[in-house]
Structure formats: structure tokens, C-alpha cells
């Protein structure tokens, strides 16, 4: 435990640099609490970011920003489900950060295996990610949350601020379109 954390436990508050940390009621500092959340949420958020953006560079950037914003709002986030809070932050981030780097959405990575496997190799993950990128953003968010990350319709509705009916109808349309896209690509390859 750092010196700063010891002070937090003893006095309920400590100062680190120009910020004030408030200790939680059980003596665990918010920073410790957030660290635990970080460990649990890092990979799930990255998966969501990658599936939404199709680009590992942007996905890491988005997850970093998601954690930063969640930490900034940690007092509010920790009152409910921090994971749901962070997912909502992430779902709304992408618009703000469109093309922050010079990477284009549609030039997402293709896997190393495709190189070593020879020309015209097709990777299943990448094909699906590219198919996802053809969906409108709102459809993509719902497909990713509902069908790929397996949240319930009610959870998706709550996190995206839409009705359950919208989740159902949008997911249905999006999955049909995704199937068509993948079927077309698969047929052309065979």
C-alpha cells in the first residue's frame, strides 16, 4: 500500500498532487476500487471497442478514453453498475473520436495469419468485423451489445437509451443484413 493510500484509510481523504481522493466507506480508496474495476473491465471494453471500430489502434484509444472518463465520474459510476456506465461512455465515445488518428475506419487491421498463410487468405474474425462496419452505427452498436457481447435486450435498451422494441427491431434488421453481407462474401469466395 502506498503512503497516500495509508493516509486515505486513516483519515478518509488525501491529496495526491492537485487532486483530492475520497476514501470509500469501507476504507478502500476510490483508486483501489477503480483499479479492481479496471482489471475486470479492460478486456470486455476492448472487445466492444474493437467490434465497434474494427481497428485495434482506435479500440485501445477508445478504451483508454473510456476509463479516463469513467474515472472522472467514478463517484457517480460506482453507485450503480460501473461496467454498464463504462459501456455507455464507450458507446457514445466513438462519435466524438471519429478519425482522431490518421487510421480510417475501413482500413482496420487484417490479421497476421493472413500474411503468413499466403495471398487471399480470409480470416473469420476480420470478415465479420468488416461486415459489421457496413452496418449503420446504431445497428452496429445494438448487434455488438446484444448478440456478440450477449447483453439482454433490456440491458442494451437501458445502456443505449432506446426502447426494448427498438432493440428488437433494430437487431433483427441488422442481423439479417449482416447475414446477407457474410453470405455474399462467402459465396463469392467459394
Amino acid at each position: 500500500m502506498s503512503g497516500a493510500e495509508s493516509v486515505a484509510s486513516a483519515q478518509g481523504a488525501f491529496v495526491t498532487g492537485d487532486e483530492i481522493e475520497i476514501a470509500a466507506a469501507d476504507g478502500v480508496s476510490h483508486e483501489q476500487e477503480f483499479a479492481e474495476f479496471f482489471r475486470a473491465a479492460r478486456d470486455p471494453l476492448y472487445r466492444m471497442a474493437y467490434l465497434l471500430s474494427g481497428d485495434p489502434h482506435r479500440a485501445e484509444d477508445l478504451v483508454q478514453q473510456t476509463f479516463e472518463r469513467t474515472w472522472r465520474s467514478w463517484r457517480s459510476a460506482r453507485r450503480g453498475d460501473p461496467m454498464a456506465w463504462a459501456r455507455r461512455v464507450l458507446a457514445n465515445l466513438r462519435i466524438d473520436t471519429w478519425r482522431r488518428t490518421r487510421r480510417e475506419v475501413l482500413t482496420g487491421h487484417t490479421p497476421e495469419g493472413a500474411v503468413d498463410g499466403g495471398e487471399r487468405a480470409v480470416d473469420g474474425r476480420d470478415a465479420i468485423v468488416r461486415a459489421l462496419l457496413t452496418l449503420p452505427v446504431r445497428q452496429r452498436r445494438i448487434v455488438v451489445l446484444r448478440h456478440l457481447l450477449e447483453l439482454s435486450e433490456a440491458e442494451v435498451a437501458a445502456e443505449l437509451g432506446v426502447s426494448v422494441g427498438t432493440v428488437k427491431s433494430t437487431a433483427s434488421r441488422a442481423m439479417a443484413r449482416l447475414r446477407d453481407t457474410l453470405d455474399t462474401a462467402g459465396g463469392a469466395r467459394s
Binding site: 483508486e31 479492460r42 490518421r102 497476421e112 456478440l148 455474399t184
Partner: protein, 472 residues
């Protein structure tokens, strides 16, 4: 959910191997990026850097042959006018200063680097790292740079910064170099979003009557460029309202309703149509145009190549993947991502033939007949013959998961690699791959790094945790 849909979703999850996707972020990096108190901005003493140089140079002596040096000088001179190319990389680069935060853009004409830190949006002097101006940010105040243009990239970087206060409905456009407020606008719409697009302040939202609305204003004059008001009414508190900005479109969406507007005119463009954008100038006076909307199906994407006189020379399905840096040494090459094969086809425009095709790489630089390409997941850098695709040399990068965007001066390629277990900034000879120099530089917990050449000759490295300026 029907059994059929359930099965299809299960197949998708299995093919995606979602559980195999892992972030490389570490907690310290996140927290460091989130705390201004941990910002470090260090000027590294030249004596220390020089000592490090002596200790870590990995390769043999530089070229001394006069003919080679003259040829190198000629290549550098030719590349000097190429966007994205570096100055002389033959001498080791040292860290001049570094700062933590999310990189938000660089304005090359003014030498301003924009950083989004936890509590403020900052504009730093690229030469010194000193803060030129900053704006405090919190839940009700935030800033973002103008980074989107009709062509998708801003060659000189953002020329303005937009700061908004949703609570009181105000928007301020600030000069990127000075931070001076050059325009202020307010909105009394029920909800709204704003962005700087092609130099214009574009605000979209829902008015008090529930109609989707948009407005584009010239920040310099205050003149309204165009307005839009949709016929559909959007109920309050329903599906929310979103704005999506990309090259060639300003998108508005609420629930199942959406519309894409032309940022220049405010006219709706077909969401699934074949709106044209991304005109890219190719060597030899050719122009490549990407057609297709972001919401389009795969077969809606196509690339057209026009000759000097506007004659269509080639049209093919796919997405243009031209290297961002191209010195024109191999005119007539077009790189197109084939959405059926997921490989990049390299096509000779003059004959229409596919010269070679490869999956799994991203073309970064085409110079002197060499194509420098990187792959993300394996972290390899490859240099291939641009006309045949034959590999010339390859190197394993330090960031294996997502990699690095390399930089070249036409003679050397700058990479980030490990030597004796330590990360190093490394310059390799473009033609042979031999190490010219190596300098230790630890990007911390970064999972990716992009290298940019600044007009001053400095090299800017941006990572997911901050920025670093290098100079000889």
C-alpha cells in the same frame, strides 16, 4: 430471439473468438493519462542523451561512400516535398520533451500540439512543450479539434478547436495557435451536438417542436452557410439523438430514423447510395475517387481512377488503401482492398492488371519503389518491392499487438524495436534493412505508436498515453 438468429449469433461469436481479444492497456497508463499531476514534461539533457547514444547504437558505421551520400541526398531532396515524409533521419534522435494525455491533433503551420488531459484541453508549443493555452474541462465543458475534412484528413491538421458548454448552450470556436475565441454561437434546441467540419461550425439537434435540425455557420463571418429541418418529429426522451461526422457526410440519427447531409450544402445524401468522396491525387496526375457511403453494403464501394483529362481509366469494387506517404516513384499503382478476398490488390492503372495481392498488411509508405507496410496483430514491419510484392526485408516491432506507423526520409525507416530486451527507436536502411542507429526510448505502457514528421524537422511520436518530440 429466434433459434435461427440465436444459432447465427453463436456462429459469429465462435468465428470472432472474442475471448482471444485482449487489451494491452495497463492501469498506470490509464491513471497517468487521467491525472494532470502525473504529467511529466521533461527536457532531456543532451549529455545524457549522448551517453545513451554511445551505449546503444546497434549497427556499423554510416555510409561514407560519396556516391551513396549524393544519392541519399537526392532521395531526401525529392522526398522533401512529399506529405508525411521526414527530414534527415540519418542522425540519432533524442527525446526533447514529452507529455501525457490523449493526443488530439497537431497543427503544423502553427506548430501546436493538442492534448486532451483529464481536466483540460491543452495546446502545447511543439518546439518547447510549454502550454500555449488551455481550457478547463469537466462534465459541462469539453473541447475537440476540427479534424474532419471532405477528404477525410486535414493535411495541415486542425485549424480550430471547438469548445462547448451544453448546460448553457454555448459553443466557442478557438484559434488553434492562440486559443483566442474567434466565434461564439448559442443553441436553444432541445438537444444538440456540434463539430467543426471543413472549417464550418456544424450544429445538429432537435428543435423545440421536435424536428431534427442542422445548421452550418462560417466562424469567421458568422454567416449561415445552410440550414436543415427534417419533417419527421422526434419524441423527447425516446431513442436519443446522435451525430456522426465523417468524410463527405454529417449524419443525424434518432431511433430508426436517420439522415446523412452533405457538409458543404446541407442537402440530404442517400444513406446507402453511392456518394462520392475521398478524391486522392496519385502520381502522374491521376486521381482516385472512392465511391460509396459508410452505411453502404460491401458491393456499394468502388474506386474510380481518372486521368489528367478526367477520363475514367479504371473502375473496380473495393476500398482505396493508398499509402499515406507516396513519393510518386512508381506512378500508376493503386492499392484497393478487395472486400471479397479481404486482401489488398495492387493494380497497374495503365493496364488494369493486378500486379500482386496480399492480405494482412497496411500500406504505410511508398518511396523509391519500396513499399513499407505494417501488420497489426503480429507487429511486423515489411518492406517489399512495390511492383512485385516480393519481400525485401522485415523487422519485428516492439509493439506486437497493434504496432506502429513508421516514418521515412527516403533513405531510412524509423521503427520501434527491442534490443537486449529494451525498446529502442531504430533507423534502418530502407533498401537493406540494416540498422543505422538505435536510441533507447520506452513508450511506457503504450500499445501503439504513430510517428509523424513535423515541418520543423522534429519527429512527433503519439501513443495511447501521450506525445513525445524527438530531434537530433
Amino acid at each position: 430471439m429466434s433459434i435461427d438468429t440465436d444459432r447465427f449469433a453463436g456462429e459469429l461469436r465462435a468465428r470472432l473468438e472474442i475471448e482471444e481479444l485482449h487489451s494491452t492497456l495497463d492501469f498506470d497508463t490509464v491513471l497517468a493519462g487521467s491525472k494532470r499531476a502525473r504529467r511529466r514534461r521533461a527536457v532531456v539533457a543532451s549529455t545524457v542523451a549522448a551517453g545513451a547514444l554511445v551505449a546503444t547504437v546497434l549497427a556499423g558505421p554510416p555510409l561514407v561512400d560519396l556516391g551513396h551520400r549524393m544519392a541519399d541526398a537526392a532521395r531526401r531532396e525529392r522526398l522533401a516535398g512529399v506529405d508525411g515524409a521526414a527530414g534527415d533521419l540519418s542522425k540519432p534522435l533524442n527525446v526533447a520533451w514529452q507529455a501525457s494525455g490523449a493526443f488530439a491533433g497537431v497543427s503544423e503551420p502553427s506548430g501546436t500540439i493538442l492534448l486532451d488531459t483529464d481536466h483540460s484541453f491543452e495546446a502545447l508549443d511543439a518546439a518547447t512543450g510549454q502550454v500555449r493555452w488551455s481550457v478547463a474541462e469537466d462534465a459541462d465543458h469539453s473541447c475537440s479539434p476540427a479534424a474532419v475534412t471532405a477528404s477525410g484528413t486535414a493535411a495541415d491538421g486542425p485549424d480550430g478547436v471547438l469548445c462547448v458548454s451544453p448546460a448553457d448552450g454555448t459553443m466557442q470556436v478557438r484559434d488553434v495557435a492562440t486559443g483566442d475565441v474567434v466565434a461564439t454561437e448559442t443553441s436553444d434546441w432541445r438537444e444538440w451536438h456540434a463539430a467543426l467540419v471543413d472549417g464550418a461550425l456544424v450544429v445538429v439537434g432537435v428543435d423545440q417542436e421536435g424536428h431534427a435540425v442542422a445548421r452550418s455557420t462560417d466562424p469567421a463571418t458568422g454567416d449561415v452557410n445552410w440550414t436543415y429541418r427534417g419533417e419527421t418529429t422526434i419524441p423527447p426522451g425516446g431513442d436519443g439523438f446522435g451525430m456522426d461526422v465523417g468524410p463527405g457526410i454529417v449524419g443525424l440519427a434518432a431511433g430508426a430514423w436517420s439522415v446523412n447531409l452533405d457538409p458543404a450544402t446541407g442537402e440530404p445524401v442517400a444513406a446507402d447510395g453511392a456518394a462520392e468522396h475521398h478524391p486522392v491525387e496519385l502520381a502522374g496526375g491521376l486521381t482516385a475517387i472512392q465511391s460509396g457511403a459508410p452505411n453502404g453494403a460491401p458491393d456499394a464501394w468502388s474506386v474510380r481512377v481518372l486521368g489528367r483529362d478526367g477520363t475514367e481509366l479504371l473502375r473496380m469494387p473495393g476500398i482505396l488503401e493508398q499509402p499515406p506517404v507516396d513519393d510518386g516513384s512508381v506512378p500508376g499503382l493503386v492499392f484497393v482492398l478487395n472486400l471479397e478476398t479481404n486482401a489488398i490488390d495492387v493494380i497497374d492503372v495503365t493496364t488494369g492488371t493486378t500486379l500482386w495481392s496480399h492480405g494482412g498488411f497496411r500500406p504505410d509508405v511508398l518511396v523509391d519503389g519500396f513499399l513499407v507496410a505494417t501488420s497489426n496483430t503480429g507487429g511486423k514491419l515489411r518492406v517489399v518491392d512495390a511492383t512485385t510484392g516480393e519481400q525485401v526485408w522485415t523487422a519485428q516491432l516492439h509493439l506486437p499487438n497493434v504496432g506502429l506507423a513508421p516514418l521515412t526520409d527516403g533513405v531510412n525507416v524509423l521503427t520501434l524495436e527491442e534490443a537486449a530486451g529494451e525498446p529502442n527507436l531504430v533507423a534502418r536502411d530502407l533498401a537493406t534493412g540494416s540498422v543505422v542507429w538505435a536510441q533507447p526510448w520506452d513508450p511506457g505502457g503504450a500499445s501503439w505508436a504513430l510517428l509523424h514528421a513535423l515541418p520543423s524537422g522534429d519527429v512527433l511520436a503519439t501513443t495511447d498515453s501521450g506525445v513525445t518530440i524527438f530531434r537530433p
